[in-house]
């Protein structure tokens, strides 16, 4: 895969993570610390977290076209990197109470859900693209005399 294509994919992942992290912060924050109040600088938090999650995944770039098992291994590695980054933020944050195991588990679980959803959205988009390709393929085959 070309680096340009890889970069575009990571950019797409960044934007998806930003949105999903925003939602996760709202849900978790509402559940564990509904009274908290923040300034405008807090609005950049999802963007910072998403960037910090995506940047380490650049280490998984390979110019060579990867096989299916290698791709799955790469996604697993990406997930581990993102979990590590988010848990690092959680443990070094003064506002997150990581002494409570439930909080740590919710953060780790949220990261897993967010990453899975980001991958799922990508897969849905690609499945829609495959449907269009199949329609084009049927028309092509009919045009060239095969059914």
């Amino acid at each position: 895969m070309s680096f340009k294509q890889f970069f575009i994919e990571k950019l797409s992942l960044f934007f998806m993570l930003t949105t999903l992290i925003t939602i996760a912060i709202f849900v978790i924050g509402s559940a564990f610390d509904a009274e908290a109040r923040f300034g405008y600088e807090a609005m950049l938090a999802p963007v910072r977290y998403a960037a910090c999650c995506v940047l380490p995944t650049f280490a998984t770039y390979s110019k060579r076209e990867l096989k299916k098992k290698e791709l799955i291994a790469r996604m697993a590695l990406e997930l581990v990197l993102i979990e590590a980054v988010m848990l690092f933020f959680a443990f070094t944050s003064p506002v997150i109470d990581t002494s409570r195991i439930s909080v740590v588990l919710v953060i780790a679980g949220s990261v897993l859900i967010i990453y899975t959803m980001a991958r799922l959205f990508s897969w849905l988009r690609e499945s829609a693209e495959a449907r269009v390709l199949n329609e084009d393929l049927q028309r092509f085959r009919q045009l060239h005399g095969q059914k």
Binding site: Q5, E9, L66, L71, I72, E126, A130, L133, D136, L137
Partner: protein
């Protein structure tokens, strides 16, 4: 080598006749090119030469510097490189789908989403080949006749 073209009436058979002092590699290439334009390619298997109809070829693949052509059940080696075949067979519905593969679009049964932005073409034989992301745009254009 001089080239002459003689237009004949319909009652006579069309023919390409190569007069040469020796059957060199160049002469074989010219003959192979003419055959490919007529829809036939020469392939090697177990040291024997075979003529294969282009319409029977599912795909070509380059492996370790050698090019192989795949029919439904057989594999043959061909002397051509992928880029040469791509140029020769463009009008025969063959399309480059990765750095090392040239696929016969008429042999694709369906296309599925594979991981990481790639697609898998399921062939009429049931085999799956991967279409690299970089070549998807070209595939769309080819299927739409652009």
């Amino acid at each position: 080598m001089d080239v002459e073209i003689e237009q004949v009436g319909r009652e006579r058979k069309e023919q390409v006749l190569i007069r040469c002092h020796a059957v060199t590699e160049e002469v074989r290439e010219i003959a192979a090119f003419v055959k490919s334009r007529q829809g036939r390619l020469t392939g090697m298997k177990d040291s024997r030469q075979y003529e294969i109809a282009v319409s029977d070829i599912y795909y070509f693949e380059s492996v370790d510097g050698k090019t192989f052509l795949y029919t439904k059940e057989q594999v043959y080696e061909t002397a051509y490189r992928i880029y040469e075949l791509e140029s020769m067979l463009r009008s025969k519905n063959f399309l480059r789908v990765s750095k090392s593969m040239l696929l016969n679009l008429m042999k694709i049964r369906s296309i599925q989403s594979a991981l990481n932005g790639r697609f898998a073409a399921v062939l009429l034989s049931g085999e799956e080949v991967i279409i690299s992301r970089n070549y998807v745009k070209g595939l769309k254009a080819a299927l739409r006749g652009e």
